[in-house]
Amino acid sequence: MNYDNFTKLNLFENPEANVLGNQIMTNILRQKNDNINFCITGDVARYIQDSSVGPIKVISFITDQEPLFIFFRDILPGLLNFNKVIKLSNQAQIESFPLFVECFYTTTALNVLDVDDFDVQALSDIPSYII
C-alpha cells in the first residue's frame, strides 16, 4: 500500500512537496516494512513536534540502517527520476523540485517517535547542523 500521509495531512503548503514526500516514503517502505529505522529529521521534524520553524529549505531524512541509506543514495534517484544527486559518505543530497531532499546515515541508534502520524526523530536528538 502506498504511503500518502504527507498529502492526507497536508504537511507542506506546496502539494508538489507532499507528493515528493509520499513518493520517498512509499519507496523506502517497500524496502523495509518496519519503518522504525528511517524517519524525518531537521526542520520538518522540528515543525511537526513544536511548530516553531519558518519556511524550510530542505526535507531531511535520517536512517541508522546502512542498506537503507545506500538505497536512498544510489537507487532511489533512478526510481524517482531525480538526476542531480550528490553522494557523500553519510549524506545523500538530491536537488529536486520544488525543494532539496537529503538523507543522513548515522551509526547511533535512532529514537523514532510517531507524532501526528509521521515518523520523526526525537526533537532533542536532531543534530543542530541539520536544517
Binding site: A17, K57, L88, E95, F104
Partner: protein, 735 residues
C-alpha cells in the same frame, strides 16, 4: 497552517561528512621543485600530504576484494639514488599498504640524500604509487600507477636564487605605508641588488651603492635575507590596475641573475576585482575528470567564500591578492547531470558580493541526450546520444517507437536495433534522426478551414495533427574487462516532435514554429497557430494594438499537436495583432501585462488577389501564407509520337502526351523578416494552393526570387514558382 517552503533551497552542512569517492590528490602538487647549492649535502625533507583515491567506492574497479599500495622511486637521469621515501605507505609490510575507507589520507615524506654525488644541473625523480587489487584467486593485479614528480635544481657556484618568486604589497593612498617583506638571496660570493626607486632595502650585509634614474643598487655577499619596503614616492604612481609591478633583481659578477617580482596594489579606497565571472567544468565518469581552474582575486581587504557542495574551493577565506583554485569533486560522487551553482565571494570592503557562475556537466557511460521529461525535437543535436567507457567495444541501442498518424490516433510500431562501435573511449548515435524516420508526414492539407468559408469569429477552428512519437529506448554497452559486463539503461518514455526546438515552448505548452517573425496578414488571411499542449488548462488570448479583444474558452492540453485557426477579417490595415498562450486568465486588459508565448501579426491592406498557400513545415505541421500579388499559370503540353509503317509508308502515330504546368505566384508585399517563412516554404516537399472550400491544388515549390524591395518600409515581394501535380490529365488550371 501547512509548512511553507523557502524560496531558496539549501542542504544541511554536516561537519562529519566527506565525499564518498575521492581521487588522488597531493599537497604540494606534483611537480615539486627543490633548490640546493653545490657543496651543501642536505636540504629539508619534503612532506607530501597524500590523498589516496578511494578504490573501494570506485564503481569501475569493484572486482577486487582488497587494495594495496606501494611506492617505488625512478630516476630519470643518472644512477645516484638521491631521495628515499618514508611514511605510512612505504613503511607498510608486503604486499603493501592495505586500503580502507578511513585510512586514505597519509603523509609521504621525501628525504634527500647523497647530494654531494650530484653535479650542478637539474634532476627529476618520479615517486610511483602502485595500486594492486586482490583477485578471487588471491593473486594481485595492478590497478593503477600514479606518479609524483620531484625536480631538483642543483645550483652551481656562480648561480643565484631569490625566494619567494613574488612579493605583494597593499596600500591605501594617504594611509601608513605597508611593512617590509623579507626576501632570501641564495648565492655564494658577491652580488649586486637592483630595486625600483619607489622601494628601499635593508638587512643582511647589503649596503646602498648608488641611485640610477629609476632604480637603486645595493651590494652584498653570500646567502642572506634582506627586507624590501615601499617609500612614499610609491603614491606618485597612483591607483594600480590591478597592480604596479617592478623587480627585485640580484646579479652576480659573472652575469648570473635571478629576480623576485614586486607587486604593489594601490587604491584610494579598498575594493576587489576578479578575473573570471563564469567557470565551466566537464567530466565523463571513469574516462575523464574535470581539471581545476584558477581565479585571481586582486584587491585590498578580507574575504570569505561560499560555494556549492560539489565544488572544492581553496582557500575559502583570505585577504588581498589570492589565487583561488576551484575543482569540482570527482564525478564518481555525482549522478550524471548538469550542476549549476555560484561561488559567492563576500568581501569585507564592499557591500556587494562577487559572484561567479559555475556549470559542472557530468556525463556517464550512457548519455541519452534526449529529455526524459517534456518533449524532444528530432533535429536537435541535443538528441545525439553519447557513450563513454574505457572498456567498451560497442554500444547497442534498441528503439521501440510508436509513430502516430495525422488526425486520427492510429499508430505504427517500429522496433529497431542499432550498434555503434567505440573509438577512443567514445561512441555516438543520433537518436532524434532515427526516430524522425519512423514518423509520418502530412499527406494532404487540412481542409474545411478555407477562408472562403470564413466566419466572423476570431478564433478558432481546431485541427489535430499528430501525437508526438512515443519511444522506449534501451541502451547498453559491452565491456571487455577481466570480467565482461553489460552496462544497460532503459528509458521508458521519450516523446519526439519533428524539427528543431522552437524557443517559444515551456515544458508543457508552446508554439511549435521555429520561425518567430511577425506575419503579414490581410483581412482575407487566416493563420494556423500550431501548438503543443500537455498542460491541464490554457487559453489563447488575442490582442489588438495591445488591448485584449478575445479570449478563448479554457482549453485542455492533450499532449498532442494542434493548429488553431485565427481569422483576421474583423481587423483593419495597420492593426498589430498578437496571439498569446496563457495558463492563467489575465487580470488586466492591458496586453503588455499578459505573460505567455506570443505570435505577432501585422495587418496590411487587402489586394486584388488573394491566394492562400499552405505547406508542411519542419515540424510536419501546416503553415499558411497569403499571396497577394499576381499569378500566372503556364502549361506546356507535348504530344509523344512514334514512327510506324503503314502501307509501306513511314508515318507518325501519337501514343500519349506529357504535360507540365507551372504556377508563378507573387507574394505581394511581405515583411523583410518573413524571408525565413519563404525559406521554410521552399524547403518543403509539399505545398497546396487553396482554390475553394475543401478544394486545393497540390503544388511543389521550385524556386523563389526577390522581385521588389522597399527598404523604407522594410518590405519585400517574392516571385515563387511551383510545379503543379494534377489530379488527372484533364484538369484545367485557371481560376
Amino acid at each position: 497552517m501547512a509548512l511553507q517552503i523557502a524560496t531558496t533551497s539549501q542542504f544541511s552542512n554536516s561537519p562529519t561528512t566527506f565525499f564518498n569517492f575521492q581521487n588522488w590528490n597531493f599537497n604540494p602538487v606534483s611537480f615539486t621543485e627543490i633548490f640546493s647549492f653545490i657543496g651543501i649535502n642536505t636540504t629539508s625533507a619534503l612532506v607530501v600530504a597524500t590523498q589516496i583515491k578511494n578504490y573501494i567506492n570506485d564503481p569501475g574497479t569493484a572486482i577486487y576484494s582488497e587494495y594495496r599500495v606501494t611506492t617505488t622511486v625512478e630516476y630519470l637521469e643518472g644512477n645516484v639514488e638521491w631521495i628515499n621515501i618514508t611514511g605510512a605507505i612505504s613503511g607498510a609490510s608486503s604486499p603493501g599498504y592495505l586500503l580502507s575507507n578511513s585510512n586514505l589520507l597519509v603523509n609521504t615524506t621525501i628525504n634527500f640524500q647523497n647530494l654531494n654525488n650530484i653535479p650542478s644541473g637539474n634532476r627529476v625523480a618520479r615517486v610511483l604509487f602502485t595500486v594492486k587489487g586482490k583477485l578471487s584467486n588471491d593473486t594481485f593485479q595492478t590497478v593503477d600507477t600514479i606518479p609524483y614528480f620531484v625536480k631538483l635544481y642543483r645550483l652551481g657556484f656562480g648561480d643565484v636564487l631569490t625566494s619567494p618568486a613574488e612579493v605583494n604589497f597593499f596600500h591605501i593612498i594617504g594611509q601608513t605605508l605597508p611593512a617590509a617583506i623579507p626576501v632570501t638571496i641564495n648565492c655564494l660570493g658577491a652580488f649586486n641588488l637592483f630595486i625600483s626607486k619607489d622601494y628601499y632595502a635593508n638587512g643582511g650585509n647589503i649596503t646602498f651603492a648608488e641611485n640610477f634614474e629609476t632604480t637603486r643598487r645595493f651590494s652584498g655577499t653570500g646567502t642572506q635575507t634582506v627586507n624590501i619596503y615601499p617609500t612614499i614616492s610609491i603614491e606618485n604612481l597612483g591607483v594600480s590596475n590591478p597592480f604596479h609591478t617592478s623587480e627585485f633583481l640580484v646579479v652576480k659578477a659573472a652575469g648570473q641573475q635571478d629576480s623576485t617580482v614586486v607587486r604593489m596594489v594601490q587604491q584610494t579606497t579598498p575594493y576587489y576585482v576578479i578575473d573570471e565571472t563564469a567557470l565551466t567544468f566537464n567530466a565523463i565518469k571513469q574516462v575523464q575528470e574535470a581539471s581545476p581552474q584558477v581565479l585571481n582575486l586582486i584587491g585590498i581587504g578580507t574575504f570569505t567564500i561560499t560555494k556549492p557542495s560539489w565544488l572544492t574551493v581553496t582557500p575559502l577565506s583570505g585577504s588581498n591578492i589570492q589565487q583561488i583554485t576551484v575543482s569540482p569533486v570527482s564525478s564518481a560522487n555525482l549522478q550524471e547531470a548538469v550542476y549549476v551553482g555560484k561561488i559567492i565571494i563576500d568581501v569585507s570592503t564592499d557591500s556587494k558580493n562577487i559572484e561567479i557562475d559555475v556549470i559542472y556537466t557530468v556525463l556517464g557511460a550512457i548519455n541519452l541526450g534526449a529529455l526524459t521529461t517534456g518533449v524532444n525535437f528530432t533535429d536537435d543535436d541535443s538528441t545525439i546520444s553519447s557513450f563513454h567507457n574505457p572498456f567498451a567495444k560497442k554500444a547497442t541501442i534498441l528503439i521501440d517507437t510508436l509513430a502516430y498518424d495525422y488526425d486520427i490516433a492510429l499508430s505504427t510500431a517500429h522496433l529497431n536495433q542499432f550498434e555503434t562501435v567505440f573509438n577512443k573511449n567514445k561512441a555516438e548515435f543520433y537518436l532524434g534522426s532515427v526516430i524522425k524516420r519512423c514518423m509520418k508526414s502530412l499527406k494532404d492539407p487540412i481542409i474545411g478551414i478555407n477562408p472562403l468559408g470564413m466566419v466572423n469569429s476570431l478564433i478558432f477552428s481546431v485541427k489535430k495533427y499528430y501525437n508526438p512519437s512515443f519511444s522506449k529506448v534501451i541502451a547498453s554497452l559491452d565491456t571487455v574487462t577481466a570480467i565482461p559486463q553489460v552496462l544497460s539503461t532503459t528509458y521508458n518514455e521519450l516523446y519526439f516532435i519533428k524539427g528543431r526546438r522552437p524557443s517559444r515552448i515551456s515544458v508543457n505548452l508552446g508554439i511549435i514554429d521555429y520561425n518567430e517573425s511577425a506575419i503579414r496578414v490581410t483581412k482575407n488571411s487566416f493563420h494556423l497557430l500550431n501548438l503543443y499542449s500537455a498542460t491541464s488548462r490554457f487559453r489563447i488570448i488575442v490582442l489588438r494594438n495591445n488591448q485584449i479583444v478575445n479570449t478563448s474558452p479554457p482549453l485542455a492540453g492533450s499532449a498532442k499537436l494542434a493548429g488553431f485557426k485565427i481569422n483576421f477579417n474583423t481587423f483593419l490595415p495597420g492593426d498589430i495583432i498578437e496571439a498569446i498562450l496563457v495558463t492563467q486568465t489575465p487580470t488586466s486588459v492591458n496586453g503588455q501585462d499578459v505573460k505567455g508565448h506570443r505570435q505577432k501579426y501585422i495587418v496590411f491592406p487587402t489586394c486584388k488577389y488573394s491566394n492562400n498557400i499552405a505547406w508542411e513545415d519542419e515540424h510536419g505541421l501546416m503553415q499558411v501564407l497569403e499571396f497577394t500579388g499576381n499569378y500566372v499559370f503556364s502549361a506546356e503540353i507535348e504530344g509523344k509520337t512514334k514512327k510506324v509503317y503503314k502501307n509501306f509508308t513511314e508515318v507518325f502515330e501519337k501514343y500519349g502526351h506529357s504535360q507540365e504546368v507551372l504556377l508563378e505566384c507573387n507574394t505581394g508585399w511581405i515583411l523583410k523578416e518573413n524571408q525565413e517563412r519563404i525559406d521554410s516554404l521552399m524547403k518543403s516537399k509539399k505545398a497546396w494552393l487553396y482554390r475553394s472550400n475543401n478544394n486545393y491544388l497540390s503544388i511543389i515549390p521550385v524556386s523563389s526570387k526577390i522581385v521588389n524591395d522597399d527598404s523604407n518600409q522594410a518590405t519585400y515581394a517574392y516571385n515563387v514558382e511551383f510545379k503543379i501535380n494534377p489530379k488527372n490529365d484533364f484538369e484545367n488550371f485557371t481560376f
